[in-house]
């Protein structure tokens, strides 16, 4: 406990330092906690193809003052629709936590069900607090405003290094504790939406590290990933950081593009899951002395599949919500692409297992559904339906091959397939954008004129940006998380005692047995 206290104190001190060095945004736009003045006539300009231009507005508002006032209300309503959309989609993504909890718990054994549920439940609170302390500020503090929500201008401070005349944004410095200038209706909405994405990442490693992880070290992990690791990579892609500027700086397409987070959310989670599972080692009895893997069937497949459906439902918020605008009617394409990819992901993983092992393994098909969703998350806004189905199909096959490879060749024990679903297919999704983006959307993305085109539509440089982002994610997240887990293990051991592992973690680690009324199998397998 003393060690735990020391770590928590150190974190608090660190955060306070961040806050003190970041309160210098004097000329930032006035923030609006009530939201009453957000959304004005200015938000009508250029909102649609036939919307008035600034010049028309300036001249006509003189002669028609009532129209100018009405335009103010129209602008407010436009922003309101976008904000309601963003919040609703954020609520959907929040519900994905329930999906993760059920899927992971269903795929693991009954004797650890309380513990697996507890991790999925508490990462919501722990991650959110960490993100509130400094995660959000590091990620979004320098994004420079969110146009579709008509504000958030206070988030204007990015820590940037200049190398050879090019700016490399590294992290934001406004919005610690959501206080000061960040006390603003738009910024709070952005926080909610970005927070639930971060929480998705943070909960992914609880799957690959399930059934053997000490709760103490898990708590420290929860703060670490939500305060630092996720926010940094997310800043580089979504917060105005250097990967998003690859287009402006080096003419690589639109820079690293990741519409809803195949890399930012899923790869980060999947790569962290891999690092964690490697450091933690396999569950007792998972591999025979000669290295042959042993099946450890999940205890509640209906629960796991219900979880996968909840995830698929939440994913509509994940992808379509990432427009941050209900008025951006591309949401129709995005939502449909999302479900098409999940369909082909499930179908092709089912067919692979059926043809190779004689039965349509439904647990793999459920993973395949998620794999399709993960893969379409980056390209969902930029591709057509044929590409979406194809991306999902590759994801479904890739998932099966990867699960078997991770287990049988790499000898990494990943009870729920998190590394393959999120890591491998996250990488595929990022690349798929660079291949299949068809140039019908994304005009001006990341400050680069024109729509987003992939290799097959004539822009090979977009694929290069995607590759750069993908490799950066693997290297950055893996190295940081591997070192973190190794160091943490020295302070607070990651692994429970072998006797506890055989007995089940429920009583010892979280003091709640999931099924106290049943005799459970408490042996090696």
């Amino acid at each position: 406990m003393k060690r735990l206290k020391a770590i928590v104190t150190a974190l608090i001190v660190l955060c306070t330092l961040f806050v003190s060095c970041a309160s210098y945004a004097d000329d930032a736009p006035v923030s609006d906690p009530s939201g009453a003045s957000i959304g004005t006539a200015a938000d009508v300009i250029g909102a649609t193809a036939g919307a008035p231009t600034k010049e028309e507005f300036d001249t006509l508002s003189q002669s028609e003052p009532l129209a100018a006032k009405v335009a103010d209300v129209v602008g407010h309503n436009r922003i309101a629709i976008n904000m309601v959309w963003t919040l609703l989609c954020g609520f959907l993504v929040m519900f994905m936590q329930a999906g993760f909890a059920l899927a992971e718990t269903g795929f693991t054994r009954a004797k650890n069900a309380g513990h697996t549920m507890a991790m999925n439940m508490m990462i919501y609170g722990i991650g959110m607090l960490g993100y509130w302390i400094c995660g959000f500020a590091l990620q979004m503090g320098g994004v420079g405003g969110v146009l579709s929500l008509g504000g958030a201008g206070a988030l204007a401070n990015e820590f940037t290094v200049t190398i050879a005349g090019k700016d490399f944004g590294l992290f934001g410095t406004t919005g610690f504790f959501l206080s000061g200038d960040a006390y603003d209706a738009v910024i709070f909405s952005v926080f909610l939406f970005q927070m639930v994405f971060m929480d998705t990442t943070a909960t992914i490693p609880t799957g690959s590290m399930a059934e053997r992880w000490t709760f103490k070290s898990f708590v420290v992990y929860g703060f670490f990933i939500s305060m630092f690791v996720y926010p940094l990579f997310a800043n580089w892609v979504w917060g105005g950081g250097w990967l998003s500027a690859l287009g402006k700086n080096f003419a690589l397409g639109h820079g690293m593009a990741d519409f809803a987070g195949s890399s930012v959310v899923h790869m980060t989670g999947g790569v962290a899951a891999a690092a964690g599972a490697i450091v933690l080692g396999p569950r007792l009895g998972k591999f025979k002395p000669d290295g042959t893997p042993v099946a450890m069937p999940g205890h509640h497949i209906p629960m796991a599949i219900a979880g996968c459906f909840i995830l698929a439902f939440g994913w509509f918020g994940f992808n379509a919500g990432s427009t941050l605008a209900g008025g951006d009617l591309r949401i129709g394409v995005i939502a449909t692409n999302t479900m098409l990819a999940s369909a082909s992901g499930a179908f092709f993983s089912m067919m692979y297992m059926w043809m190779r092992y004689g039965k349509p393994d439904v647990s793999m098909a459920a993973n395949g559904l998620l794999a399709g969703l993960v893969a379409i998350t980056a390209p969902c806004a930029f591709v057509n339906s044929v590409a979406a189905v194809g991306i999902g199909a590759v994801a479904g096959l890739l998932l099966c091959v990867s699960v078997l490879f991770v287990e049988q060749t790499l000898k990494i024990d990943d009870p729920v397939g998190a590394i393959s679903v999120h890591g491998v297919n996250g990488a595929w999704g990022v690349l798929a954008l660079g291949l299949f983006a068809d140039g019908t959307y994304g005009d001006g993305l990341n400050g680069v004129a024109g729509t987003v085109k992939g290799l097959f539509y004539g822009d090979a440089s977009q694929l290069m940006a995607q590759l750069t982002g993908m490799i950066t994610n693997i290297v950055f997240v893996f190295v940081v998380m591997y070192v973190f887990f190794k160091l943490l293990d020295k302070v607070i051991p990651l692994r429970v005692d072998p006797e506890l592992e055989l007995e089940g973690l429920d009583q010892a680690e979280v003091a709640v047995s999931a099924y106290p009324d049943f005799n459970l199998k408490k042996a090696m397998k």
């Binding site: 893997p293 069937p297 092992y357 793999m364």
Partner: protein, 112 residues
């Protein structure tokens, strides 16, 4: 008195119960059990891995009957529980010393 225990396939429970009621056996205790016989276990697959289920799920029924009824009960159980394939189960018969009905204190055949 004889105590008759039988290990049967789980899906045969209803048929066996009906057959026993038809010949006038009025008490039956049912337990879900796991175990193996000559059949040993069987192989299942999970996410591309085969694994051996060493103990198969079975149902154990227990009933107590007067000495003279034993053969009739065995016939009823074998007829109802037999599928002809491996794993149909077994019947064990043993002599029982005493039966007591807790409510009334009756003993022996009267207590059955």
């Amino acid at each position: 008195m004889k105590k008759i225990e039988a290990i049967i396939k789980p899906f045969k429970l209803d048929a066996v119960k009906d057959a026993l009621i038809a010949i006038g056996v009025f008490g039956l205790t049912v337990t879900e059990v796991r175990g193996y016989g000559r059949q040993r276990g069987h192989v299942e697959t999970y996410r591309g891995l085969e694994y051996e289920v060493q103990f198969n799920s079975k149902i154990k029924i227990e009933t107590v009957v007067p000495d003279g009824m034993s053969d009739q009960v065995v016939k009823a159980i074998t007829t109802a529980a037999r599928t002809g394939s491996i794993g149909d189960g077994k019947i064990f018969i043993s002599t029982l010393e005493e039966v007591i009905r807790i409510r009334t204190g009756e003993e022996g055949v009267d207590a059955i």
